[in-house]
Amino acid sequence: MKRFILPFVFLAGLVTLLAAGLGLNPREVPSPLIGKPVPEFTLPTLADPEFRVSDRDLKGQPYLFNVWASWCPTCYQEHPLLMQLAERGVNIVGLNIEDERADAIAVLEKGGDPYRVVLVDYDGRSRIDWGVIATPETFLVDANGVIQYKHTGAITWQDWAEVIAPKYQQLLTGAPRG
């Protein structure tokens, strides 16, 4: 009987390791940008292609930087939550990528517009600087323009309540610093 103990412990260890691996989301790659200033950008807005917004314009208060596209089903899933957050006064900036202007505007006209401003990056240049893999992704940026947190995939109410809201609150009470 004793001789089975070692192989059993080994097997149990292996199973635990593999089970933990199965539970991980391979899309949740840790972002190397956390703790760093947002990448520099000057991008046209969705509402007015002639009007450009830069990273410096957004400084002064914390914001959620939400990357989305009109063809992205997970973004639709997330949309009602963003609407409610906007109603509660959460500052959300959108980045619309890999999209058509008309399609993106249609989505916001139909489902409501939770964004303070939507920037467009249709040549994919800025999204590479942000290290965006797939929509939706949301960054939490503080008042000084430093990235504090990154969420991959749709934000659920649980994510908001347990993780993002406390961080956002902390940034609000701490802001403006320096």
């Binding site: 790659v29 840790p30 972002s31 190397p32 940008l33 994919g124 590479i128 290290g131 893999i133 797939a134």
Partner: protein, 154 residues
């Protein structure tokens, strides 16, 4: 029936593997092109994850390949290009991750596995030898017993 099989086999023969077609301007300089090809095989397409940039048709992979061409044409060396991508996407973008505290286990795991295996083999081998000596002892004891029996009977 044979005809069908033949036709099918022929189809397999003429079916060429599908390559990702790059719809953008590749560098014309053969040296840059060679470096472009080598680098695009070295980076992971983060959307499809198990393909490299060269093999992938995903929008992100396309954008990254365009970026790659521009970095090459701007005269950046391979190391600078790797740094550019790692700064944005992390070590995960590299198919050959660097050795650091986060990847130490990854690099050491094969060594650990081989050592454990070696240890197990060594233990089994030693146990095998012990059994052999045990058997030898058993035989000697049996012979001695037989001798005793003989003496008793005689």
């Amino acid at each position: 029936m044979r005809r069908v099989v033949k036709a099918l086999l022929f189809l397999f023969l003429i079916a060429s593997p599908a390559w990702a077609i790059d719809s953008f301007q590749l560098p014309e300089d053969p040296q840059l092109l060679a470096r472009y090809q080598a680098l695009s095989e070295e980076f992971r397409c983060l959307v499809c994850q198990n393909q490299n940039l060269a093999d992938s048709n995903a929008e992100l992979a396309k954008d990254l390949k365009i970026e790659l061409v521009e970095l090459l044409q701007a005269g950046k060396n391979d190391e600078q290009i790797r740094e550019f991508l790692v700064a944005r996407y992390g070590d995960f973008v590299l198919y050959r991750p660097p050795v650091n505290s986060a990847t130490a286990f990854l690099w050491l795991a094969p060594l650990i596995a081989v050592s454990v295996l070696g240890l197990v083999v060594l233990m089994l081998w030693r146990r095998g030898r012990q059994t052999e000596t045990a058997t030898a002892n058993d035989e000697q004891v049996a012979a001695a017993l037989a001798d005793l029996k003989k003496q008793k009977n005689s």
